[in-house]
């Protein structure tokens, strides 16, 4: 478990990721076992998932989309986010030069397996600053509860 969703300790992660990228470039795909639905590096949108006592929250880093055209569906514990991002680059000509074309464009689809205690019946999705936030409450039975200790001597 990490202390926060995006704040990770120290400078370890960027360094580690740079190293991992180099290794991947040398050896091809990663040889580590990973989630069967995890996409390769640079998949769009990037996804973070966190849990609180009451809910599972999924954050999809999907900038530049029309919120009305993001498709979020849930089927048997599998959350699917799909849509399309328009290619905004102009046509290259003798007056227009393109120096960098790194931003994703085209159709995307990402699937995430929800934890077992998530209640797929009540899902909320919102879009802010290019981040799609999906909140799936936990089942009532899965929420932490205080258990009363009875005084058996009484």
């Amino acid at each position: 478990m990490f202390p926060s969703l995006t704040r990770f300790p120290g400078e370890l992660f960027p360094d580690f990721e740079a190293l991992q990228r180099q290794v991947e470039q040398l050896l091809g795909a990663s040889s580590w076992p990973s989630s069967i639905r995890a996409a390769g590096r640079g998949a769009f949108p990037a996804i973070n998932m966190g849990v609180t006592a009451d809910a599972v929250e999924i954050y999809a880093f999907a900038p530049g989309l029309d919120p009305g055209r993001i498709d979020v569906s849930l089927d048997k514990g599998l959350l699917v986010i799909s849509g399309e991002r328009a290619d905004e680059l102009p046509q290259e000509s003798d007056k227009v030069s393109i120096y960098a074309d790194e931003r994703f464009s085209g159709a995307f689809r990402r699937a995430i397996t929800l934890p077992e205690d998530a209640d797929p019946g009540r899902v909320e999705a919102s879009y802010r600053n290019g981040v799609l936030r999906i909140v799936v409450p936990k089942r009532e039975s899965a929420k932490p509860r205080r258990v009363e200790v009875k005084d058996a001597a009484a």
Partner: protein, 128 residues
């Protein structure tokens, strides 16, 4: 036109001295009027964004704020740094005083116009 002289990315600019940050993907297009740069900065609000011009270096920096609750624990994370940063070296023909920036749905659009005298014009060839 020489790409390298127009917008040259400053690699690892003072990287060692600064906090770790992600490199946001960008599109850079030049037309007659200037350069348009688009950067993906999901999770960055207008308040969390900083655009600096220091000499000939343009630096875009953004802090990610998701507004997640304090007791949240990450179970899976592909974005592991809450900051974006990227620097570019601007060419002299660009007007750094007149940069226009707009932020929408996590996408930053920067327009850097060319100086008036740098815009293309026809040069008359006089008959000798």
């Amino acid at each position: 036109m020489d790409t390298n002289q127009t917008v040259l990315e400053r690699e690892g600019h003072a990287a060692a001295a600064e906090a770790p940050a992600l490199l946001p993907p960008v599109d850079i297009v030049e037309d007659e009027n200037g350069i348009t740069l688009k950067a993906d900065l999901p999770g960055v609000s207008r308040e969390g964004l900083s655009i600096r011009v220091d000499g000939d270096t343009l630096t875009v920096e953004g802090a990610v704020a998701l507004g997640e609750s304090k007791d949240m624990q990450a179970v899976y994370a592909e974005v592991r740094v809450a900051r974006y940063r990227r620097s570019f070296v601007l060419a002299r023909d660009l007007d750094t005083e007149a940069i226009d920036a707009a932020m929408k749905n996590g996408v930053l659009t920067l327009c850097v116009p060319k100086r008036e005298q740098a815009k293309p014009r026809r040069i008359e060839v006089k008959a000798g």
